[in-house]
Symmetry: C2
Subunit: 196 residues, 2 copies
Amino acid sequence: MSLILDPAAQDLLFREARTANTFTDEPVTDEQVQMIYDLVKYGPTAFNQSPLRITLVRSREARERLVKHMSPVNQAKTADAPLVAILSADNEFHEELPRLFPAFPQAKDAFYADRTVRERSAQLNGILQAAYFIIGVRAAGLAAGPMNGFDYPGVQAEFLDDDHAPLLIVNIGKPGLGAWGERAPRLGVDEVVTTV
Amino acid sequence: MSLILDPAAQDLLFREARTANTFTDEPVTDEQVQMIYDLVKYGPTAFNQSPLRITLVRSREARERLVKHMSPVNQAKTADAPLVAILSADNEFHEELPRLFPAFPQAKDAFYADRTVRERSAQLNGILQAAYFIIGVRAAGLAAGPMNGFDYPGVQAEFLDDDHAPLLIVNIGKPGLGAWGERAPRLGVDEVVTTV
């Protein structure tokens, strides 16, 4: 017995894919980002709320502004990556629910009532979509370097607004020389899965 | 230009995969769960912290205890699914860091100092892993039904402990009759991606 996903796809997305810390100079195009999005947009979220927003940091000026907010260990690789994406959650996602979840027209009002509930939902579902996005980057034959080592309020103030909360920042490109070290061990299934 | 992931794999994981609300009676075995875990355990987390824990709710008695904590709309499908998994985050993940992230032996102590930082990190990285798990379920040819409509403190008290925070509950099986309706629309790339 085995997974029905093709083994080459398993390798591409999980087994051989690695977090990259260096990249080649090869650019990552808007068309590649669009292809990635057009695949991973189908990943499930609660009420199809789809709160993920993606800010591509392309200009030299914007990249310099971003690097200042990264943890020291993340600064050089964020400065050098072909493309950097700020992933955020739209806390006003409920405005789109009448279109995104027509099966339950009351969904917008249910979320409208409570900003705290909305922020928690945007956070949970935005992070799920961030993971789909990482998988999508790999599906494009690129390596992702997801990072949470940055000044969250600083990045929000510099690039977003009060309604958009940063989730992760992801370096994207073809892996360069010494992009990663030895694969670290994973927990065994018996350490993770229990049955009741 | 296209993604390098095989189109059949794209369909299996994203384009044709759907959240299932009904399932056939076909069981989901421990071996299938192990195969899923052994693939998705390679998905990236910060410091390889791997906080996701999985509680399989198999016994009739446990399933009845779980159903009481589900939102009304989720009760029948959770009662009937071949397998239900409670996904949680281990807030004491730092205990495993010396083994999981040998490249930075100080990581355990850095997280040990602050439970709040640890909980946030476990939440973020546990949700990333929950998304990888959903993709893995689909890679096994099964349908996932992820739900956040349940009493989080109730499920934690009933099945977990103070160190494990529920993230999502996922019904798993082969899709049954009327497992889903029409696919809801997604946001266009221009509504999601901006460039600076």
